[in-house]
């Protein structure tokens, strides 16, 4: 006969405790859970993310109905226990059900504390605690404009941010001069308030609410200083009140909450309490980590496992509001026997304080940059001696070696506070599912899936669990999530093994997905054509939409059409035709592009081939990873300073290099004199004309990360410029990573290496010859598509 275990409550702490019991011994108890909410248990701390629109209700379920069924747990939901009859060892519900128990756990949690001011029962006054509360707030945001949140603590600020995200005008009322006074000191609180004000939150500080007024629905608040504020919604976030009444009525010892010993036992040895309804050594906790720790202890106790008992928790806090990076743990305020290490950078809005007593960290407050939070908090919990650190270095970011010591973390320790994921869960998932990257761990365990602050710890656990097999850079340099092989390893293998098709490459090299993903499909297509220009047939299905459709997709699914204008030149006839076509097809935007061509933006997909046909112009390849344009100045043809015919040289360069695929897009420039009107020193390849020849530059970028060109050499003829350009482009084609611009490529392979290869005339000739071989396999894209019925067919939309 199994023992009967009854739990009053169906919240996070209770469910976690049951999970832990099942893990230890699934057959020991007949389990009944009684919860008064009409849901399976859910992750309450994620409600603020639901309100902020970052996740949905269905995503925050911890255990769905099936979990109860699978584990043979009888769940009585939407029903409340009204009485514990200790003599008879049974509980009675409001529906009159009588349920006997051998062991009873009270996990009733707590309720939002509602200020007992006049008007608190008006319509539009809510707490922030349950799914219903959240739904009421979301509904209110649809109909009303003004909200007031009473309470500038963690929950209040998260609620306020969520209401702002839902379009409401929000005031936060706080009794004290500083926000989050339980977790932050004055300095950090001021920085937080400033950042939140920037996000549009308004504050009424040091205001005591005396009355909520309104007829039926709330219309406003009055404060003790005689001022008032209007609103249509009041959210009370002034604290929680443990639901301890059931224990008090049963005659258990109750202080602020139901009192328990280190084994979570109440004054009746057959009744236990966990979570927010329990008071341990005078403290009733309201954060998730301690509740989980209590649940684990209780599971040990009930299943007869050895346990040191619950020793209390040191709390740490993070705020789930974007743009406010903060961490707080342990003691907050200086006292007579603590010393503070403080770093403050007012320019960046960063504030860091570590409180030290007897050479041990006892408190951490970080604002603006909380990346060290986990490491410092772990030093605090382990009571590490910090004598060996110089004071300032305690605050330094963890280097490779002084990183988080995950080896000494216990399996029960919570890594991800948002989703309550422990180290043990993560290690288990890594081993069971063979996970190797942070993103995989996130997908399976949800660790790091909310605020993402614990990413560093998760990666450290991966490294610790997998040992040498873990490569933190794998997510960046492995070609994609299908393989851990780098670009060079893949290209080398294609060369060596003589592989001919992307499918062959993926199978032979053991790609995880036989058909690849959106990252490696275009990359393999590029590498194969680069390596085998004469025989490999381009695979349109492997191309990203822009290159497949020969136009840039816009955010509404329309496309852009940018015709070629060599060197930025055009003719009156072409301009008139562009204008007429743009009018005929109602093109919403005609614009000179960044690459000095005329662009037609917002062309409907089915019109794209017609627009091409009527323009009778070549594609400008404004969508492709290849040469976009050569920017020119007018040069010696018209300019009084021009030293050479930079315009003609630019046009020739563009004609000779266009169309050929490169690892990423390329831009070039030719300028007629050192005044550099064509801005060529931030191009992938730049030419500065001077009296005695042409100075060549390479590796520049004016985009994402500005990089000035390095100088290559000076040549004397136009032919040499063109040959050098071809050799340089081919070198980039053969050694660049797909998706890598020339600027990072040059930094990666080295400026001197590129120069060395291109100083060798023999190499230059061979590279240029290989470039020309490849170029001969390309056909102008738009005319090629117009001639091919199947390709034209890609633009039609069937109407039925």
């Amino acid at each position: 006969m199994k023992k009967k275990l009854v739990m009053i409550g169906n919240g996070m702490a209770g469910a976690r405790c049951i999970e832990e019991i099942l893990k230890r011994d699934a057959d020991m108890f007949d389990i009944t859970m009684i919860g008064d909410e009409p849901y399976p248990n859910y992750n309450r701390i994620m409600l603020s993310n639901v309100l902020q629109g970052k996740t949905t209700f269905s995503e925050i379920n911890i255990n769905d109905w099936d979990w109860y069924k699978e584990n043979h747990i009888q769940l009585i939901s939407n029903e409340r226990v009204t009485e514990i009859q200790r003599e008879q060892q049974q509980v009675v519900t409001n529906q009159g059900k009588v349920i006997p128990y051998d062991e009873l756990i009270i996990a009733t949690g707590s309720s939002a504390f509602i200020l007992p001011v006049p008007g608190h029962e008006l319509e539009g006054v809510v707490g922030f605690r349950t799914i219903e509360d959240t739904e009421r707030m979301m509904d209110a945001a649809k109909q009303y404009k003004k909200a007031v949140v009473i309470g500038g603590g963690l929950l209040g600020l998260e609620a306020a941010r969520g209401l702002i995200d839902r379009g409401m005008d929000v005031h936060v009322v706080h009794l004290l001069p500083n926000l989050m006074e339980m977790q932050l000191d004055r300095e950090a609180a001021k920085l937080l308030q400033k950042d939140l004000e920037k996000q549009g939150m308004k504050f009424l500080m040091e205001k005591k609410t005396t009355e909520i007024y309104g007829d039926q629905r709330v219309e406003g608040l009055r404060f003790d200083d005689g001022t008032s504020v209007e609103c249509d919604l009041v959210v009370m976030a002034v604290g929680i009140r443990p639901n301890a009444a059931i224990g008090r009525e049963a005659g258990l010892a109750v202080g602020r909450a139901i009192q328990v010993n280190d084994y979570m036992q109440t004054s009746d040895p057959q009744i236990y309490a966990v979570g927010e309804c329990a008071e341990h050594r005078g403290i009733a906790y309201g954060l998730v980590a301690p509740l989980y720790e209590q649940g684990i202890v209780l599971a040990d106790v009930l299943t007869g496992k050895e346990t040191a008992g619950y020793q209390g928790s040191i709390l740490s806090t993070q705020l789930k509001v974007a743009g406010c990076d903060l961490f707080s743990g342990g003691e907050i305020h200086e006292s007579d026997d603590t010393k503070a290490i403080v770093v403050q950078d007012q320019l960046k809005g960063v504030y860091k304080k570590v409180l030290v007593r007897d050479n041990k960290v006892v408190g951490v407050v970080l604002y603006g940059d909380a990346s060290d939070g986990t490491r410092l908090f772990s030093m605090l919990k382990k009571e590490s001696d910090i004598q060996e650190f110089t004071n300032a270095s305690v605050l330094h970011k963890a280097g490779e070696e002084s990183g988080i010591d995950v080896a000494s973390m216990s399996a029960n320790e919570t890594v991800c506070g948002c989703n309550g994921v422990t180290k043990g869960t993560i290690v288990g998932a890594i081993l069971e599912h063979g996970l190797t990257t942070f993103n995989e761990v996130k997908a399976v365990t949800k660790a790091g899936g909310s605020c993402g602050k614990c990413r560093g710890v998760v990666e450290a656990i991966l490294a610790h669990t997998l040992g040498d097999k873990f490569d933190a850079s794998a997510e960046v340099t492995g070609m994609c999530s299908c393989t851990t092989l780098s670009r060079d390893e893949v290209v080398e293998a294609i060369r060596e093994k003589g592989m001919h098709t992307p499918k062959e490459v993926r199978i032979v090299l053991g790609f995880k997905h036989e058909e690849g993903c959106s990252k490696c499909r275009p990359a393999l297509n590029y590498y194969l054509r680069m390596l085998r220009p004469d025989e490999y047939e381009d695979d349109k299905a492997s191309r990203f939409v822009n290159e497949r459709m020969d136009g840039n997709i816009q955010n509404d699914g329309t496309f852009s059409v940018v015709p070629r204008m060599y060197g930025g030149t055009t003719t009156p006839e072409d301009l008139i035709r562009i204008g007429e076509v743009a009018k005929k097809y109602n093109v919403p935007l005609v614009k000179i592009t960044g690459a000095a061509r005329v662009g037609l933006f917002g062309v409907k997909k089915e019109d794209v081939p017609k627009v091409w046909a009527e323009l009778e112009m070549r594609s400008g390849y404004a969508y492709s990873k290849s040469l976009r344009n050569v920017k020119t100045c007018v040069g010696s043809q018209f300019c009084r300073f021009g030293t050479q015919d930079s315009l003609a040289l630019g046009i020739r360069l563009e004609q000779e290099i266009e169309m050929v695929d490169t690892p990423h897009k390329m831009k070039m420039g030719v300028t007629g004199c050192p005044r550099n009107c064509a801005e060529v020193l931030t191009k992938d390849f730049g030419v500065v004309c001077v009296e005695n020849g042409f100075q060549l530059y390479f590796g520049g970028n004016g985009g994402t990360e500005v990089r000035e060109c390095d100088s290559l050499t000076t040549v004397t003829t136009e032919d040499e410029v063109v040959q050098m350009a071809k050799a340089y482009v081919q070198l980039y084609r053969e050694t660049g990573i797909y998706g890598e611009r020339t600027a990072p490529w040059v930094d990666r392979v080295g400026v001197d290496k590129v120069r060395m290869v291109l100083e060798n005339q023999d190499q230059v000739e061979k590279l240029a010859a290989r470039f020309e071989l490849a170029r001969d396999t390309y056909r102008e894209a738009w005319s090629a598509t117009l001639e091919d019925e199947q390709r034209r067919n890609m633009y039609t939309i069937e109407q039925r």
């Binding site: 993103n439 058909e515 299905a541 497949r548 997709i553 069937e798 039925r800």
Partner: protein, 106 residues
């Protein structure tokens, strides 16, 4: 038989290139049809749940399409968005008869 009665003839099978999506408008709905490399024909709503990206233009790998706007990965079999993103799109049953693709569920 009643299920086939409600199927709508939309396109010739041979007009569907393998792994290249096709946009069709049926009853004012925009639907993306795909012919997978294993020969299956799948049809889903042509709107990514994220920012309405036109899924017909996405890269297709196995049973998945990658949205062309922000690379969300979506199953063409279940309609489910793959982790770490979340969501779901409508999936329509397909049938091949006499070389034509028929759509149901509309």
């Amino acid at each position: 038989m009643s299920t086939t009665m409600n199927m709508i003839k939309v396109i010739k099978l041979e007009d569907l290139a393998i792994q290249i999506g096709k946009e069709v408008h049926v009853k004012e709905k925009s639907i993306a049809i795909f012919r997978l490399s294993n020969g299956d024909v799948r049809a889903v709503s042509n709107r990514c749940p994220h920012k309405n990206g036109p899924l017909a233009e996405g890269i297709v790998s196995g049973e998945f399409v990658f949205c062309p706007l922000h690379d969300w990965k979506i199953s063409l079999v279940t309609g489910e968005v793959q982790k770490p993103d979340d969501g779901c799109i409508e999936v329509y049953p397909t049938e091949i008869r006499d070389g034509y693709v028929y759509l149901g569920g509309l």
